[in-house]
């Protein structure tokens, strides 16, 4: 964080180590515009990082991310870490990790997939991590990262 001026937050969430350039996609995936329309956000992009080269950081004031939101972030930024802040202190730290399967979060992009006709939880297998490629466990079609981000 050296050289980057970002105010500490009192309560909320700091998402650190976001893959460089993905911060806006992370915001879209969490649905900040719908879920937390009035939240104070701080976004830092392409911050130099020893570990990652460059990274992005997102701070959301007054909101703690839910587990399902953390799952969504793992889709496009699998190395992020989530810090829950209370009274200016890190109270919880979770490392995001991309699971082998993604359940319920996404819709299958194939219009003729049975999951778009019957009430059922979708399930995707992670085939590739970067860029992300998922395969629907029902119709077996694959979805690219671009198609996935478009859903949020």
């Amino acid at each position: 964080m050296k050289g980057v001026k970002v105010k500490r937050i009192e309560n909320g969430t700091v998402i650190d180590h976001i893959t460089g350039g993905q911060a806006l996609n992370v915001l879209q995936i969490i649905g900040v515009h719908k879920e937390y329309p009035k939240a104070v956000l701080t976004v830092a992009m392409n911050v130099p990082s020893k570990k990652m080269g460059t990274k992005d950081i997102v701070k959301i004031e007054g909101r703690e991310l839910k587990a399902v939101e953390v799952d969504k972030i793992s889709l496009i930024s699998p190395n992020s870490s989530i810090n829950i802040i209370r009274d200016f202190e890190v109270k919880e730290k979770k490392d995001v990790s991309l699971p082998k399967t993604v359940e319920g979060v996404l819709k299958c992009d194939n219009p003729n997939c049975i999951t778009n006709f019957e009430a059922t939880k979708t399930l995707f297998a992670v085939e590739e991590i970067s860029p992300l490629k998922l395969r629907c466990s029902f119709c077996e079609r694959t979805m690219s990262e671009r198609e996935i981000i478009k859903q949020f």
Binding site: C113, I114, T115, F117, T120, S137, C139, E140
Partner: protein
């Protein structure tokens, strides 16, 4: 061998496929003699889309093994037309039957049915996705008629939309076959399928030239080119002629090479080819029976 459902060729390992082919051979030895492996068992054949061969061969296989079949061959006569969900249909049918065979227009329907049902489910075609029992009988035919699966095999015709071609290419890759994909421009094997095959280090050649490829081939697997895929009827007529197998096309073919077709054929193989030694597509239909007998016996635990 543990085998509960047959939903996709992707679920089957090489050793499972080999085992299924071996049991199929045992079933073939039974010939037309009836056995009692599935005595008293009931198979439900749920065909939400039309089929001739697949449904009849499953019902015949069931009868040969001492069991019986119930079901429908078009969804118009069922509660589906009243808006019943597939899940509810499956929950209802599983209380009548010991196994379910399903063909349905939506991709992924068979997987959904298998997730809901406690009895075994066999996929007989889910939209444009999979038709694994066709693939298994194709493999069985190639093995029985040429002695091995590691051969020079060409998939010919509409490789873009044909589910049969996609699953067969996947299965043959597992067995190290050398494949040539021969299709008209615009109906080539999708990039996604080819990328998927790369994990097996398969040797693949892609071409539009049927005649030039013929001399090197052991197996010609011909598929139908559907007229409705072409916006311009003239374009269809041109393509149709160029990919038709005739006596002339076969002049340069290896003596022992064979021709397969998942059928129905329209005019991609000339009728006079039927009388040649190369034609094995009706033999292929015949092999569907032992393969489906083996699958029914295996999923219902009557064979192992």
């Amino acid at each position: 061998m543990e085998l509960h459902d047959i939903i996709s060729i992707r679920d089957l390992s090489k050793s499972k496929i080999n085992h299924i082919l071996k049991v199929s051979e045992d079933m073939e030895k039974h010939g037309a003699r009836k056995n009692k492996y599935l005595d008293g068992k009931i198979l439900a054949t749920l065909f939400f889309e039309p089929s001739t061969r697949t449904r009849l061969s499953f019902e015949t296989a069931m009868g040969r093994m001492g069991g019986s079949s119930i079901g429908f061959s078009e969804s118009g006569t069922t509660s589906t037309s009243k808006g019943e969900s597939l899940k509810d249909t499956i929950r209802t049918v599983e209380s009548y039957a010991d196994a379910i065979v399903i063909r349905h227009p939506q991709e992924g329907s068979a997987r959904l049915a298998a997730n809901v049902a406690s009895v075994p489910v066999i996929n007989a075609g889910d939209g444009s996705n999979q038709h694994p029992t066709q693939t298994l009988l194709d493999l069985y035919t190639i093995k029985r008629e040429t002695g091995a699966l590691k051969k020079n095999i060409a998939l010919i015709g509409d490789l873009k939309y044909g589910r049969t071609a996609h699953s067969l290419a996947y299965a043959l890759s597992m067995f190290g076959a050398k494949m040539t994909f021969i299709s008209p421009k615009g109906l080539e094997m999708p990039e996604e399928v080819i990328t998927d095959l790369a994990k097996f280090n398969t040797k693949i050649e892609e071409t539009n030239d049927l005649e030039g490829s013929i001399p090197g081939l052991d197996v010609l697997y011909v598929t139908r080119i559907q007229k409705e895929r072409f916006p311009d009827p003239e374009e269809y007529e041109k393509v149709k002629g160029a990919y038709k197998i005739t006596l002339k096309t076969l002049e340069s073919a290896k003596k022992n090479s064979i021709i397969l077709h998942p059928l129905p054929r329209v005019d991609e193989i000339a009728p006079e080819v039927d009388a040649t030694k190369h034609a094995r597509y009706f033999k292929q239909v015949h092999y569907g029976l032992p393969v489906r007998m083996a699958l029914l016996g295996l999923v219902m635990g009557a064979l192992d």
